[in-house]
């Protein structure tokens, strides 16, 4: 039996809690949120303890795993103290808000004898995992170029409106783009330089949009479009083109979807799309982390991977601020 403490009972905390509850031999022991009501309402479902202090969770001796689902700037301190207390630690992406703190996390993770993984869940999405497998099998020859698109409406109205504060969330390129940056590194290896344009620093209320060009050490190149500018209520957008010397793989969630529902509502009619799969990618991800603990294996996403994805994301917003290309890939 592995016992879990969840820090942060917002959207991702809830998703993760549901996943933990579906895995055998796992007990959600405690749920923490600085807003006690949120912690209580979630804890009630899983019959877990409640606290408002992440320190309380981390120091408990009846916890094996700490799952950190707080806003980005709070990750670093909790990851480091959790690892130092000998707890296996999984943390939402991005690893931290700054490279300095990410470096501290990587250093700490190397020193301790517990498992640590940043939840770059895209690697567990079947469309992305299938693409990776196809590329590994040589389906498109040598992969050389990619186009990535991701985004939707602005994530407004969350705790303290933290997504709207660039110093907390980093904006759309950091918070959302990081998914694609990690995926691109998975395909192409390390990046060399980045150029980006974005609304991130332009103080436009509740709009963010970024276009990034990434050059990899392998000479491969990628273009990434990230948006938080769709009208609210419209479906998320995700897609890619992966181009190799002998072919191309494409995905677009607006067309590759197994279910569309047009619903008559009381006040507003609605349209939604989804592609149900037998197991949610979030559950696959958490199962993977659990099996790494049980079988003493290195998780699919290493601390260095998480650092490098953040490095690209921060280079993007730096480039957008200065209109200069920014080098990445230096020593951690």
């Amino acid at each position: 039996m592995l016992r879990v403490g969840i820090v942060g009972a917002g959207g991702m905390g809830r998703v993760h809690a549901d996943c933990w509850s579906k895995i055998d031999d796992i007990k959600i022991q405690v749920i923490c949120d600085i807003e006690v009501d949120k912690a209580e309402s979630l804890a009630k479902i899983y019959n877990a303890d409640v606290t408002t202090s992440s320190g309380e969770v981390i120091k408990r001796s009846d916890i094996d795993i700490v799952d950190i689902c707080t806003p980005t700037p709070f990750h670093a301190d909790d990851i480091i103290s959790s690892l130092r207390s000998g707890k296996h630690t999984i943390c939402e992406k991005p690893i931290t808000r700054t490279l300095e703190s990410a470096r501290e996390v990587v250093k700490t993770a190397r020193e301790v004898d517990v498992k640590f993984m940043v939840a770059h869940v895209l690697r567990f999405f079947p469309e992305f995992a299938t693409a990776k497998n196809l590329i590994e099998s040589g389906a498109i020859g040598i992969p050389r170029m990619a186009r990535m698109r991701r985004g939707g409406p602005y994530p407004a109205g969350k705790w303290n409106d933290w997504y709207a504060k660039v110093e907390m969330s980093g904006g759309c390129l950091v918070d959302t783009g990081i998914h694609d940056f990690d995926f691109l590194r998975w395909i192409f290896g390390d990046a060399e330089r980045v150029y980006a344009s974005a609304l991130t620093w332009k103080n436009i209320p509740y709009k963010d949009y970024g276009l990034a060009t990434i050059r990899f050490k392998s000479r491969a190149m990628a273009q990434v479009e990230i948006t938080w500018a769709h009208p609210s209520g419209t479906p998320l957008k995700a897609g890619f083109e992966l181009i190799g010397t002998q072919g191309m793989l494409t995905y677009d969630n607006y067309s590759s979807t197994s279910l569309r529902v047009m619903r008559v509502g009381e006040t507003n009619n609605s349209f939604s799309m989804e592609s149900p799969v037998a197991e949610s990618p979030y559950l696959t991800e958490i199962r993977h982390f659990v099996s790494c603990i049980k079988e003493d294996r290195e998780p699919l996403i290493t601390p260095e991977d998480a650092y490098r994805a953040l490095e690209i994301a921060l280079a993007c917003i730096e480039s957008a601020r200065t209109n200069r290309p920014v080098s990445v890939g230096g020593e951690i």
Binding site: M145, R147, I204, K207, L211, M221, Q223, I243
Partner: protein, 329 residues
């Protein structure tokens, strides 16, 4: 209206000759082609006169206009000679391969009182025009940025020979979208940053390009100019323009008006275009402009400004930094 086509080096000439045939007021009097076999075959198929030497055609034929479809570096001489002969000119894109010759072409046309139009058929796309109207009416509020592509298959031939094309994929594919962005925004590019390389094919020119543009008004755009459609791709390529603005997101896929054809005879899938013929709309507009003696809808200057961005992209790749416009000659 009597016209001639000068050179069939660029494959668009094959579409233009079909289109000219469809315009009732146009008589295709002659064609010139430096490749004799090819030219003679086309001339006999379209029942028109053939010249190996375009200068001779210009001297002998009484025509109102020419359509220039030579290799990019040869546009200059053909356009200047045609202007001096008093013929109106529709010139294939990119207008040229350097600023100085583009300027000379424009000045010569002005001097001899003929019109010079750059062949940007995408301008005449009903979809592109629909969105132009929406933008001009202010329906989207402030525009923030554009994510664009003009993809194609690797064309081979002189297109990959820098001494004839002036570049590769970036030279070939920056200009269509750039022209649309300038038209939509009424604003010029201020900075260009680009990454480009030869990554997909064994050819001497660049085959991939990501060209980022910062406009004078702060709006940003990226154009993917790559010859990245695989040989097995069901259609030649695409022109996509995704726009993000204060009051909405607009996704234009100009050539996404297709039927999917699953063909057991060839064991292949292809997309068959049912959209409006933009080449025809462009040629009709050109002929109409010169007949009515009105300014052409897409000028030589438009061609120059779009080409300038491609040239800036190549310079940026060399310098690994953003390049400020306008470029020196």
């Amino acid at each position: 209206m009597k016209g001639a086509i000068l050179s069939f080096a660029h494959m668009h000439a094959y579409s233009y000759i079909e289109c000219l045939k469809k315009i009732p007021e146009v008589e295709l009097v002659a064609i010139a082609d430096e490749v004799e076999e090819r030219g003679k075959e086309i001339a006999s198929r379209y029942n028109t006169r053939f010249y190996r030497d375009y200068q001779e055609l210009l001297r002998k034929e009484d025509i109102d206009f020419v359509v220039v479809c030579s290799e990019n570096v040869r546009h200059k001489d053909m356009v200047i000679a045609s202007a001096q002969a008093g013929k109106h000119i529709l010139c294939e894109k990119p207008i040229s391969v350097d600023i100085r010759s583009a300027r000379e072409m424009i000045e010569t046309a002005n001097k001899y009182g003929v019109q010079l139009q750059t062949a940007f058929p995408v301008r005449f796309s009903p979809t592109i025009r629909r969105v132009k109207g929406m933008i001009d009416r202010g329906e989207f509020g402030k525009i923030f940025g554009f994510n664009c592509t003009n993809h194609g298959k690797m064309p081979g031939g002189w297109f990959v020979d820098k001494s004839l094309a002036g570049g590769g994929a970036i030279m070939d594919h920056t200009v269509h979208v750039m022209d649309i962005l300038r038209w939509y925004l009424g604003c010029e590019a201020r900075y260009v940053y680009a990454e480009g390389d030869t990554l997909l094919h064994d050819i001497p020119s660049d085959d991939v390009g990501l060209v980022s543009i910062l406009f004078e008004n702060g709006i940003f755009a990226t154009i993917d100019t790559s010859w990245s459609r695989p040989k097995s791709f069901p259609i030649w390529g695409d022109v996509n323009i995704y726009m993000v603005a204060e009051k909405g997101t607009v996704e234009i896929e100009v050539f996404n008006q297709n039927l999917s054809l699953y063909n057991d005879k060839t064991m292949s899938v292809s997309w068959v275009d049912w959209g409006s013929n933009m080449d025809l709309l462009m040629l009709e507009s050109f002929v109409h402009s010169i007949r009515e003696n009105k300014p052409v809808e897409v000028t030589g200057y438009d061609g120059l400004k779009a080409m300038e961005v491609a040239l800036a992209a190549y310079r940026s790749i060399e310098l690994k930094e953003p390049v400020e416009l306008p470029l020196e000659e």
